[in-house]
């Protein structure tokens, strides 16, 4: 379709807005955006206030106290929490992406007896509320002596049916003729996976990486029941206990919250197109 024809169709669909309508549309969008941002604005401004201005009617601090951010590190081991979160989310993501993509390759590209039945089993468990498995899993960790350890946090999260499903859906879109070409060239299945399919599923891998990383960065239930010692706390758990122990120092709490939210916002700004694509792939197919 040529550019003008496309514009014409768009005009048909939406009636091209005049100057006034265009401005109104933007005003509406900006107003909605402002509402969404307001809590964050308050968060950042409060994190820069001195204690004496907490609860005051004004939002913009009279004294900009940047040292709040430094103080957070002396009040709680924030760096430690952040590092723990990164470490756990990183390991889980690495393991999950590796095992999921291998399993997905097996489901999408290999042909072995019983494959479809195993896949149905995977699909079936995706509907289960995770809650059902938590209690036995925790007791298992108790028996294995993995409570309050990093492996105890990482292992149960490292294998996912959802990731396998997502990667399988992605790999099915890669043309089969590539497999045959590789086979004729004498490539083994491992080389087919490692050198053909995996590089071609890069967008899918990135999507799964973001999903998994985010999910585990936010993960709350499992660390909450598993962790005992402060030096192993992840960020959500650390924030929770900071809030319940020193909740009155709102300015420090908000500084900590800002520091845990900011990396996410940055991540989203840079990776949003992969994320959007992944949501569409995992959801209703376009």
């Amino acid at each position: 379709m040529t550019e003008t024809a496309k514009e014409k169709t768009e005009a048909m669909i939406h009636r091209v807005p005049g100057q006034g309508r265009w401005t109104l549309l933007h005003a509406l969008l900006a107003a909605l955006g402002l509402i969404m941002m307001t809590p964050f604005v308050w968060m950042v401004l409060t994190s820069l206030k001195p204690l004496s201005e907490i609860g005051a009617a004004w939002w913009v601090p009279k004294v900009w106290q940047w040292s709040n951010y430094k103080e957070v590190f002396s009040v709680i081991p924030f760096g430690r929490f952040f590092w723990n979160s990164l470490l756990i989310a990183g390991w889980v993501t690495f393991l999950q992406v590796l095992t999921s993509s291998m399993a997905a390759f097996s489901f999408a590209r290999l042909n072995w007896p019983g494959r479809d039945r195993v896949f149905l089993l995977y699909l079936g468990t995706m509907m289960l509320p995770g809650l059902v498995m938590l209690i036995p899993n925790f007791q298992l960790m108790v028996r294995l002596g993995l409570v309050d350890t990093m492996p105890g946090l990482i292992l149960p999260a490292a294998f996912s049916a959802f990731g396998t499903f997502l990667m399988r859906q992605f790999m099915l879109t890669i043309p089969r003729s590539l497999d045959e070409a590789a086979e004729i060239d004498g490539a083994s299945k491992w080389r087919l996976y490692w050198e053909v399919i995996l590089p071609l599923s890069r967008p899918g891998l990135i999507t799964l990486t973001i999903f998994t990383f985010m999910g585990n960065y936010h993960s709350f239930f499992w660390p909450l029941v598993m962790l005992r010692s402060v030096e192993r706390y992840t960020l959500p758990i650390g924030l929770l206990f900071f809030d319940s122990e020193r909740g009155q120092s709102t300015h420090l709490l908000m500084a900590a919250v800002t520091m845990s939210v900011a990396p996410l916002i940055l991540l989203f700004v840079f990776l949003q197109r992969y994320l959007v694509r992944g949501i569409m792939l995992g959801g209703v197919k376009g």
């Binding site: 509406l28 969008l29 009617a57 809650l131 498995m133 036995p136 294998f159 099915l172 929770l240």
Partner: protein, 515 residues
């Protein structure tokens, strides 16, 4: 996990077909099995250890008296099979019913979230491309304006006018950014609350809601004072008429819902089950409104709407209705019905509020205590959830759905002279039905399991259990009380609910998703 959105509705019924060809030899077959298993092995092992086995164990323990008070290192009583005792206890457990009610109450926010997502997607999909000739300048201007405004603020006042000034400047900044780069800026802004949703934002909202030091009440108190003085200066009749008008609106909604249900049954578009669902949901609302209004005559207005909806002249011969499949149109009837229930109840709530407003305003209006108040705790959580849900994955799905609607449909509608509203109701809305259905089902499934993180971080399930949901109940019983068997049975009851919704979706959803 707020982000993971699995596709439960279009689980491929047809798995990839096996390659055609002659029967392979036994040796080749076992070799293929070996290679296949080698690739799936690591994942399958984890799956068996951390998903399948716990599942079986959990099911077994739901029927046992596994309790950390009876079975620990000091005491080791035999594990007893208790049969259905836990499940019987559940239904006589007064708190379980309250917690189940809480879960359902919180789920009433779902229609609002869906409507918000759709609205945001519609706004974002309109042609808001940047005008030709715009460049980076507006962003620079916005930055300068922001910095200048903040320095002006620091130098001058800080009170309410200053706050308003801050918002005006932020608005201008966002507007400039949006006009420059179009959809991306807005999409980022809308999506951020969802993307960052977690303990950090719950802690943030807890502070926002704080009755003494939180910004919500410090903004709300002067506003409410103004409202109170305005209300007392107005004649109270306005409010009673307003409340009746809202009830009439609710009645009209009910009438339309019942009428459309009956009509589509007459027209042969839906079967007996859909009709039954329509009747049941419609009468449930009527019963609730009558009960809440406690003998006040206004409670009969929605009932009248319901009855008026029954009076439909069939446009086609009704005997066609008998030939419908029983379950035809059930999904639509359920969805529309639940939406109507929520809308009518909301309208009724606002109406009764406006009825008592003049008497309340005499003593002055106080802002609520939010999370600390039994009646406000759930609405507080719903407001926060709405904030996080409008710009969520649902919005992205709607955006994708909107871009998939063939433009010929709009062209045809335009040629028939359809107005903007008609184009929405007769083209956009039906075309988006599969997406809406998917989102609706997913939201229900997530809603049934939800509420744990908010309860744990914001309210600890209180006040008086007002925000304890089923998932938080499982946590308390399983990890604080130590009644593992009972907690497992609660989890399985929850599973049964989720399964019912999923099964319903499979049975009736395929019509909407597999087009």
């Amino acid at each position: 996990m707020p982000i993971c959105l699995a596709d439960y509705t279009r689980l491929d019924r047809k798995l990839t077909p096996s390659k055609p060809g002659g029967k392979p030899s036994h040796q080749r077959k076992s070799r293929r099995l070996l290679v296949g298993l080698a690739f799936i092995g690591p994942n399958l092992t984890g799956f068996l250890v951390f998903t399948l086995t716990p599942l079986v164990i959990s099911f077994a323990f739901a029927f046992s008296n596994w309790d950390l008070h009876l079975h620990n290192i000091f005491r080791n009583e035999p594990l007893v099979f208790v049969g259905l005792d836990h499940f019987r206890e559940l239904f006589s457990h007064p708190e379980f019913l309250q917690f189940f009610g809480n879960t359902l109450f919180l789920m009433m926010g779902i229609p609002f979230a869906i409507a918000g997502s759709l609205g945001a997607a519609l706004l974002l999909s309109s042609p808001i491309k940047r005008r030709p000739g715009w460049n980076l300048m507006p962003l620079g201007v916005a930055g300068v304006v922001l910095v200048a405004s903040l320095s002006v603020l620091t130098l001058t006042g800080f009170q309410l006018p200053g706050l308003m000034l801050l918002f005006v400047f932020l608005f201008i900044a966002i507007l400039a950014g949006g006009m420059m780069s179009g959809m991306t800026v807005y999409r980022t802004l809308f999506y951020t609350p969802h993307f960052t949703a977690g303990v950090a934002t719950y802690v943030l909202w807890k502070k926002l809601y704080d009755p003494q030091t939180g910004p919500i009440n410090s903004v709300l108190s002067p506003v409410l004072e103004g409202v109170a003085s305005t209300v007392t200066s107005l004649p109270p009749a306005i409010f009673s008429w307003g409340s009746i008008l809202l009830l009439v609106g609710a009645a009209e909604l009910l009438r339309r819902f019942v009428r459309s249900g009956l009509r589509s049954w007459y027209a042969g578009e839906s079967g007996w089950l859909a009709l039954f669902v329509t009747a049941v949901l419609g009468s449930i609302v009527c019963i609730f409104v009558l009960r809440w209004s406690e003998g006040w005559a206004g409670g009969w207005i929605p009932v009248a709407g319901f009855l008026a909806g029954l009076w439909v002249r069939p446009e086609s011969r009704p005997d066609r209705a008998g030939r419908n499949p029983l379950d035809h149109g059930l999904g639509v009837a359920l969805m529309l019905g639940l939406l109507t229930v929520v809308a009518v109840m909301t309208l009724y709530g606002i109406s009764s509020l406006s009825r008592v407003l003049p008497t309340m305003a005499v003593d002055g209006l106080e802002p609520p205590l939010w999370l600390a108040d039994y009646h406000w705790a759930k609405p507080s959580i719903m407001i926060m959830a709405l904030w996080a849900a409008i710009g969520s994955n649902n919005m992205i799905l709607y955006l994708a759905g909107l871009s998939n609607i063939p433009s010929e449909l709009y062209e045809a509608a335009s040629m028939d002279g359809a107005s903007g509203r008609q184009r929405f109701w007769f083209v956009t809305w039906p075309q988006l039905a599969p997406v809406t259905f998917f989102i609706f089902i997913m939201s229900i499934i997530q809603g049934l399991q939800g509420g744990f993180e908010m309860a744990r971080t914001m309210t600890k399930g209180g006040p008086a259990g007002a925000t304890t949901t089923l998932s938080y109940f499982v946590y308390i019983e399983g990890f604080e009380t130590g009644r593992l068997g009972f907690a497992s049975s609660v989890a399985w009851a929850l599973f049964a609910l989720v399964f019912a919704v999923t099964a319903l979706n499979f049975k009736f959803g395929s019509r909407y998703t597999n087009d």
